[in-house]
Symmetry: C2
Subunit: 636 residues, 2 copies
């Protein structure tokens, strides 16, 4: 590796990174496996048959072994008569010699007896005191000779062949129970103080380790053998020991996290001191802080910590390398779509995750910190560094993550737990993009979404309807949905009894523009009027009024963790977090649907499901349908 | 199942068989697996998140947690100064409250401290006696709120979703270490007295069990869980017990063999007596004798015994069923090609295996008894029952067995062990179709083959060259290959010393037209002349002269098994069979190559490899190059 160029704290281009990887000298391991477990792997050896297939000349039909010459005069109405001298089942070596004028019964696959040179099919014979043969056979007819399928000494499979059902069949045919395959043992080490293994308890400040498992699944799909090491803390010694152990036992090491140029950039230094950093930073979004190097003598890839970035860099750079070694085929499919909205480039190459609906590609813009960025995307488009902008409507090439299941409907909007129950009732394939109420309205306006889910409150006290005009949406209707109980969320032991009490405790507020925030402010204005204190003065005196949480969950989480004492949110979230809920009002969660889709089969099914909800039975606690559920409000 | 129509000893059409399978009530098993082993399977449950992701509001950048309002006046040249009150690493629940005018250092992924509502990126700050902030941030900037990615209570994955890297990532993200997947346990039972497990010794009359392993690999590829039972003998009790055991432990049972309508048709009767036969015989080639039924309460598919038929019926009827249940995607790819030769239909539907080369599809006609039928084919064409003939040149749809690796060259001809060594030296992808010398010449004439390998002897004593004219081949040359030692093959303890001795023992002869047969007859004519006996009289007196084996291996096998005492063949085969070899002559193994390809890069590489063989080092024993090797003989 000495001749390789060191790339030092200087971003490399995608092509440079691929060049560096191509020049890495990676030796696959050779593993002996039983043929039952060999499917999908590439052979690490030529396979030479030690045996003939078939190993002996055999009957290929049920019938009678004969001398062909004895049958030449046989006719349907003038049979030849032969002496029956025995019967040969499959699986034995017959001790019979067939003389002229003789025949022996023989089963398919049985060894041809000496003397005989053909088999008469049972259908062309009759049995009496002797065997009547009613049709002639020629020499070798219905006989499969030894080695006609495979000859001993023949190379039946070549090194590098990927083993499928047919190749496994060939291996069995020549009696090979074990073969050498190329295996690539890939060590996976996630780093981060905050990581906890799924299935374990999540203490405050901790998150579950995602990358170990998503990357492990990726390694398997590429034919590699993943070895998961326990996640290590951002500790120099701990990380070095993990790398040393992995280098001893694996062919390649993948780490995730601890790669950025910030204060926690331990990985870079460890590789630098115990090997070679070949590249630090790839000019690509997401995933810029990737490292490529050699550590303790083994190739190492430092993937970013964010799951979406980590998986993207794995797919783009590491997966092709593993597949090249294991011989697993690339499973990616490409398609073409029109871009639904204008996309601006950010001055570096970008793999932009997109969803697909009816031939349109819409960017998934949750940021690389979100795992749902990937699960809501169907694939990605590659934006070259030189491209400044792609206009809405332009054709783009989409690399799919897998086979696409076109959804019946695309929902964009505020997430609501009632939606899952509604989708099950409708039994439609609805792709749900959680983008908030405003995100839903924008998606309706741009023509991407089929349904938006919204709960926005106007200062006049009216839900949702005024916002269509405000967002410039014509040609869509509001379909009234269900009511969601809203109220105070406090800890179970809290002494807070009603809304007025929150003025004196640490609150966590919702973001400006959210329905909950508008409702909170309406209530606070009531209090300011009752007490004769100006609204601004009242809120300035409140601890935390200006702390804006973007989700109901963030409100509940701050209260659960003791960082605030009260907030406003929905009952469902309070109960899921084990918190107390004091109801204040009902919020109206509605759907916005383009008029042109209203009569479509899918929307009709959706609306039927919505209207069937009257008993509210399937809705989670805190949600209920009411007399307006399913009402269509047209905006004039 | 009671309402299903019994199909009794009457062939059903392909569509009828598929209809019967569709109406079968097959219940998949539900299996709990660790997410490390869940990749590729379909979820048997909805997955509802118990946690928010992220579980708390966190910094999405390395930087400083602040009150956004404190930074509003910050400018590059006029920083705001804040008091540094602590540092928050990832993974802990910070016990800090940030007051106005204060800031705390915070790592990416760390919990936001109470009070703070934004994070200033480290790049926009400087540290002195206090923290200087050089750019304003807005509320929530660089903060990811609890539940923005996934909310507790949210359904993150729906039942039926096939788990890929992204879905495994989602499961890890919400802390699920184990999930329920749909599993289908498929019992596999091969039947036949002659079957031996690969890896074991092959006694006379026995063959290796192929179907258990090829079908097992197929079940795995479809997402099923194969359970291999030991092969059972063609014995009623043994088979019934095996079926009973499999029915207890599996969701579906696949048997192979014992299904034909002949004497060994035990399977049919067992199913009939212990369940229901839904179909016996499908109108399809290969694979007619398939059985579909219910036995001991479980669905059973009786596949044919021949490996190629067995795998074809599995792929066509069983694989789609398993995939439907497990959710595994179909991996078949279709392409279009021109048929290289005319194909006649046989009055029933046919799945005809074909190889592909440069856009042409050529039928592989080794018969369903050969396992190499499938390994030499790239896919198959479906011929409808109503079609009588497809002309050469017609476009046909080919269903591929897997991804295609277009070979550099197509070799058709007589198999020779020297070829493997030659291919390795050339390092070309050469597809080898073993079709005998005549098959090779026919393939050259029809324009399919790029190289034919031939060793045909003319009665004049000249090898190969005269046969081009005889086969009507113009525009091709003979390239001299290597010499193969030919001689007598006898058992090690044989007293035979020379060719003349074979007149008095049991011989096994080669087929008329083979080079070896011509040489044998030339030698026998010498003897008849020397002794003054007419040739016909001499050969009529020889035991076995009219027994025609089609391969060198068949000759060796007959001798090894004691069914004959001597035969003529090549040294390589004698040695591989542990037999004695007495050299008689050298045979000339040559290549026939179309003139138009002679200057092509691939043929040039092939010829260079051939000519580099002069030391004969890499050739197997019995083969050697000589002064004519690589010589191009043009036929005028």
């Amino acid at each position: 590796m000495e001749d390789m160029q060191k790339e030092f704290r200087k971003l490399v281009t995608i092509d440079e990174a691929k060049g560096i990887i191509e020049r890495m000298d990676i030796r696959p391991g050779i593993i002996e496996v039983n043929i039952e477990n060999a499917s999908g792997y590439a052979l690490a050896q030529d396979v030479i048959s030690d045996v003939d297939v078939p190993p002996f000349s055999r009957a290929s039909m049920d019938g009678y072994a004969v001398h062909a010459a004895d049958t030449y005069s046989a006719r349907e109405d003038r049979p030849v008569h032969l002496n029956l001298v025995g019967s040969i089942p499959a699986g034995i070596n017959p001790d019979i010699h067939i003389k002229r004028g003789e025949a022996a019964e023989i089963a398919t696959g049985a060894v041809m007896p000496s003397g005989a040179d053909a088999v008469v099919m049972v259908e062309h014979t009759r049995i009496g005191t002797s065997l009547s043969v009613h049709r002639p056979v020629s020499i070798n007819e219905n006989v499969m000779h030894a080695g006609t399928d495979i000859m001993a000494g023949e190379r039946v499979l070549r090194r590098g062949t990927v083993l499928g059902t047919r190749e496994i069949g060939i291996l069995a045919a020549v009696g090979k129970m074990a073969v050498n395959i190329y295996g690539l043992v890939v060590g996976i080490i996630s780093t981060g103080n905050e990581l906890v293994r799924p299935g374990c308890k999540l203490d405050a400040g901790k998150i579950y380790d995602i990358n170990s498992f998503s990357i492990s699944a990726g390694v398997k799909q590429c034919g590699g053998t993943p070895v998961l090491y326990p996640a290590v803390r951002d500790d120099r010694t701990e990380m070095m020991e993990a790398l040393r152990e992995a280098a001893e036992n694996c062919d390649i090491i993948l780490t995730s996290g601890s790669t950025s140029a910030g204060s926690g950039d331990v990985m870079y230094r460890i590789i630098e001191e115990n090997g070679t950093v070949l590249a630090h930073g790839i000019d690509i979004k997401p995933g810029k802080p990737a490292i490529i190097g050699i550590v303790f003598g083994k190739p190492v890839f430092g993937l970013p910590g964010y799951p979406a970035s980590s998986l993207t860099i794995f797919n783009e750079f590491v997966a092709p390398l593993i597949r090249k070694i294991t011989g697993k085929k690339e499973e990616r499919i490409r398609t073409t779509a029109r871009l639904a909205v204008r996309v601006r480039s950010e001055g570096r190459s970008q793999l932009l995750p997109v969803g697909l609906v009816r031939g349109w590609a819409y960017p998934i813009e949750k940021g690389s910190g979100a795992i749902t960025t990937l699960s809501e995307a169907d694939g990605f488009i590659e934006i070259q560094q030189s491209v400044e902008m792609i206009e809405a409507g332009e054709a783009v090439d989409v690399t799919l993550f897998g086979e696409i299941e076109t959804p019946d409907l695309l929902f964009v909007g505020s997430h609501c737990l009632g939606l899952d129950a509604l989708i099950d009732t409708a039994n439609l394939r609805i792709r749900v993009i959680n983008a908030g109420s405003s995100g839903g309205l924008v998606a309706i306006r741009s023509g991407i979404a089929d349904i938006a889910g919204v709960h926005l409150l106007d200062e006049s006290g009216i839900y949702n309807i005024p916002f269509l005009e405000r967002f410039g949406i014509r040609n869509a209707v509001v379909v009234k949905g269900y009511l969601r109980e809203q109220g105070l969320i406090v800890r179970k032991d809290s002494t807070i009894r009603g809304f007025e009490d929150i003025i004196h405790v640490r609150v966590i507020n919702r973001n400006t523009g959210s329905g909950t925030r508008v409702m909170t402010d309406l209530k606070l204005r009531d209090i300011s009027r009752q007490r004769g204190i100006p609204f601004e003065e009242l809120t300035a005196s409140m601890s935390g009024y200006h702390t804006e949480a973007k989700t109901h969950s963030a409100v509940a989480s701050a209260i659960r963790l003791g960082k605030a004492d009260a907030g406003v949110g929905i009952r469902t979230v309070a109960e899921l977090n084990g918190l107390k809920f004091i109801k204040i009002a009902d919020e109206e969660y509605d759907f916005v649907i383009p008029i042109k889709l209203l009569e479509s089969r899918e929307i009709q099914i959706f609306l039927r499901a919505l209207r069937s909800y009257e008993p509210s039975e399937k809705l989670p606690p805190g949600l209920r349908t009411y007399e307006r559920t399913g009402e269509i409000v047209r905006i004039s």
